[in-house]
């Protein structure tokens, strides 16, 4: 019969990788740099919105989506510490995110929004 884990005094101690995960966070300088990068990307996005030649070009939509994805990933990795935390948290976040993204793409195909855009 398996031993009751609650009776093991060592069970209350954090595992080595957890200990590292809880303490290996960036310092405030990194956080400020990340904030500056996020601000710069936002300025870039808004600048692109006001330049008619950029809006009319084929790169406008992919560029905005890429910049948005970079901002999203930056916040998740550095501010939410997913880059430094346990792998299980990454799975818990990216799993549903992947399902949601696939659902979004499927729905857009189903309702003809993506087909219409590719056709232009």
């Amino acid at each position: 019969m398996a031993e009751n884990p609650h009776s093991d005094p060592s069970a209350t101690e954090p595992k080595a990788d957890e200990h590292i995960a809880q303490h290996h966070h960036p310092d405030w300088k990194t956080y400020v740099k990340v904030g500056a990068v996020l601000t710069a990307i936002t300025i870039w996005e808004v600048w692109a919105y006001y330049i008619p030649s950029v809006v009319a070009s084929r790169i406008f939509v992919p560029m905005l989506l890429t910049l948005s994805a970079v901002k999203f990933a930056t916040v998740v990795m550095f501010y939410m510490h997913l880059k430094y935390d346990h792998r299980l948290f990454r799975v818990l976040f990216t799993g549903p995110l992947l399902i949601a993204a696939l659902t979004l793409i499927s729905l857009l195909f189903l309702f003809g929004q993506l087909v219409a855009r590719f056709g232009r």
Binding site: Y31, T39, T42, Y79, I99, L104, L107, Q113
Partner: protein
């Protein structure tokens, strides 16, 4: 019990509360993607204006300008991004509460109250921007019942605003605890969980800002 190093036994070795908040955030991803999907499916299918990016003239001859106010929303986006920065600094201040602080800069960075206040204030400012935007839209003739754009826009941004409101309330409770007995390293996990929620609200807005406001 509250100390991170003395939490109860779990098979993963990770605190159940942190696993729970990540699972919750995963489910919230699905909620917001469903709302964003709805917005995108209805995009460009409104029969009557006002429209987000185009001028509209109704049969009575009334002309409606493009409804979205990009400068105001850019400012509110910046405010929310900075609130995320303030939130990580609040978490770092709580985690490093016990470290000695010799300089004025270290004392400022180590003040959890200051950064929690800043985060709550910036969150409230964002909500103020949203209230202004909603009010001006209604005055310009766009309500939740006007057209497909109005319905999907107010539902999506309204849900997000409700999440920001819940986040501000959460931050205020943390501030109350900080004033009452002080937040220290033993409370770091509780602040971390609140911070994760707050950053999630921020990343959702990053997507909404691009999809709703910038993509024509």
């Amino acid at each position: 019990m509250t100390a991170p190093a003395a939490h109860h036994y779990t098979s993963t070795g990770l605190d159940s509360r942190k696993i729970a908040i990540w699972a919750f955030i995963g489910s919230e991803c699905m909620l917001f993607v469903s709302l964003i999907s709805t917005y995108l499916i209805y995009k460009g299918r409104s029969l009557v204006g006002p429209f987000p990016h185009d001028v509209y003239t109704n049969p009575a001859g009334e002309t409606f300008n493009p409804i979205l106010n990009i400068p105001v929303t850019s400012a509110s986006t910046f405010v929310l991004l900075m609130s995320s920065l303030a939130m990580v600094l609040a978490l770092a201040a709580v985690q490093n509460k016990d470290l000695p602080k010799h300089t004025r800069g270290e004392r400022v960075l180590g003040s959890s109250k200051l950064w929690l206040w800043m985060t709550a204030l910036l969150g409230t400012t964002f909500l103020g921007f949203q209230a202004y935007e909603f009010t001006s839209f209604v005055h310009e003739g766009l309500s939740i019942r006007t057209n497909l754009f109005g319905s999907s826009f107010f539902t999506l941004t309204g849900f997000h605003g409700a999440h920001v409101t819940a986040g501000v309330i959460w931050l205020v409770t943390l501030l109350a605890i900080d004033y009452r007995r002080g937040l220290g390293p033993n409370d770091a996990l509780n602040v971390d969980i609140a911070a994760l929620y707050w950053h999630f609200v921020d990343v959702v807005w990053i997507v909404i800002f691009t999809v709703v406001y910038l993509l024509k």
